[in-house]
Symmetry: C2
Amino acid sequence: MASETISAQAMNGGDGQFSYARNSEFQGRGVETAKGLINQAISEELDIKQVISSSKIFVVADLGCSVGPNTFYAVQNIIDSVKLKCSEKELEFQVYFNDLVSNDFNTLFRSLPSDRQYYASGAPGSFHKRLFPKASLHFVHSSYGLQLLSSTPEELTDKNSPAYNKGRIYYGRSRNEVVAAYSGEFSKETESFLDARAQEIVSGGLMALIVPCLPDGLPPGECAVVAYADLLGDCLMDMAKLGLLDEAQVDSFNLPSYFPIRQELKTLLKRNPYFTIERFEPLALSAQRELAINIPTVVSHLRAVLEGLVKKHFGNDIIEDLFFRFSNKIEESSMCSPSSIYKPPVENVIVLKRTSI
Amino acid sequence: MASETISAQAMNGGDGQFSYARNSEFQGRGVETAKGLINQAISEELDIKQVISSSKIFVVADLGCSVGPNTFYAVQNIIDSVKLKCSEKELEFQVYFNDLVSNDFNTLFRSLPSDRQYYASGAPGSFHKRLFPKASLHFVHSSYGLQLLSSTPEELTDKNSPAYNKGRIYYGRSRNEVVAAYSGEFSKETESFLDARAQEIVSGGLMALIVPCLPDGLPPGECAVVAYADLLGDCLMDMAKLGLLDEAQVDSFNLPSYFPIRQELKTLLKRNPYFTIERFEPLALSAQRELAINIPTVVSHLRAVLEGLVKKHFGNDIIEDLFFRFSNKIEESSMCSPSSIYKPPVENVIVLKRTSI
């Protein structure tokens, strides 16, 4: 079998029961909690006159925006903060909403706030590549995007590799080589992300990232979201044993995302010469803990994110059965109980400034 | 009955049998034929260094782009022409694809040429309003868009108005007051269009429009596309008489588009102080004549443009029946015969230059 990779897929579109629009409250809480920190960074670190120079346009991009509503909230907050700081009455705002081509831009556009005070555009494509002309952005925002990989490392599906991830779809209970392969891919893709942004953001421009990281010292398998994904893999293996799908399909499927260790991410950011780290702070998100003990909420949030990937690889037919099994599996596991040992990832708010090199 | 207006709707999305993507060959021929004129205008009228000033980004917008493929062809031609003229090797191109929020941007984005040498964005919204920041565009293109109205004049559905258009959905066989109401709306909306673009286009920037006009001296009812729309109205009235829909629904429905007389359009353009007319030339399009004698082609082209409007007003259920009747009605009318007296609109290619006022 040739080694295979799985490409990133957009979150569920539309506004139905399992749409991202209706199942992104976890992420919404993060964006809300990050607000103060981002405002402070704009107030203290952003020299608006310097970044816009002679023009009167302030350009914001939200990368990996999905379909809303979180993106509208994040963008509005940035604009409010810039307005608060800047006395230039004629300043106009332009906002790019970016996500993969498979994202539901039609829903995004229909949901744009009617009272918005900015010119809105959608920019389709992977944010691991260039999306905008050189030095054309003043503020980049990306929340819950960087942990998503463009594709999985090839080794995971290579029988001859020590990172072969047979019978699993994620890395919480896998060999160290599997985790290392994921980490390597994350490192490579984060570098591409930073290199692309370094070209697109003007000198002095800011970039705010919300990145969910593994809690310090925690084994990956005890991080709730990683463990959930492993449980989903168990459900797929159960279905393979019942002949409902082919085991080889499970072997060739791995989820394209990775939750870095805080220090690992910091090292990557420090290595890039075009950005300085202005903020790097964990969010205290008790809400995640609260929401995370409700099984239907957990299942529908994960489904909004994972369904597209599963469908593309296994087809439509298994979806209902799979997520039904998944819900039962979580119940059996007592992962969602208040006394669960599993911990949610820790969101870190990171503010980077484009240097003048 | 209160007077009602009908709002513009996007062309048919997707890539199915009646999609605009597969039924826009008429328009495609126009875009193709206009190529030479647009290239010449870029070569002779555009001072690239002046318009981009110190930046190295050339920004193009195609307004009313629909879902392709014509928009990609038009945009590529503009970029090729600019490159041919400009020696600046580092010049980057950014392209905005604009259409109504109801346009199928998902299909548009999936169809973007993979080898494109520009950064692509979609800008949703009516081009009769502002869509972009001040002085942010260098070249605007809009083909087969200006004849489409944001909404129909209220008088058409006002029982007490001399422009009440009872039992008809267009103006080919209506009283002069109806034509005048359409003309007035076109005039108002063209002014809004020009005013918005005057703010968005930099001094010295160009705008190329392809606008289908009524052939000089021809009564509107003898212009093929107007007469077709009137026939579609007859089909709706037939269905009302058979009790398949309510006659009042026909009375309250009017198509939001208008084919101006050449001189009428010229006068509107001349009146705007922010643009000078650099080119205003009719296209000789024998292809339209050729394509226009094939009834299925005519029906599917009109359906790709009108189906959204009809659906919104009358619901989904009548669509198949209506367009089946429409096809028969055209056949009976012999409008499509080679000896038909009906003439297609004459496309005019117009190039405007933003003045330095």
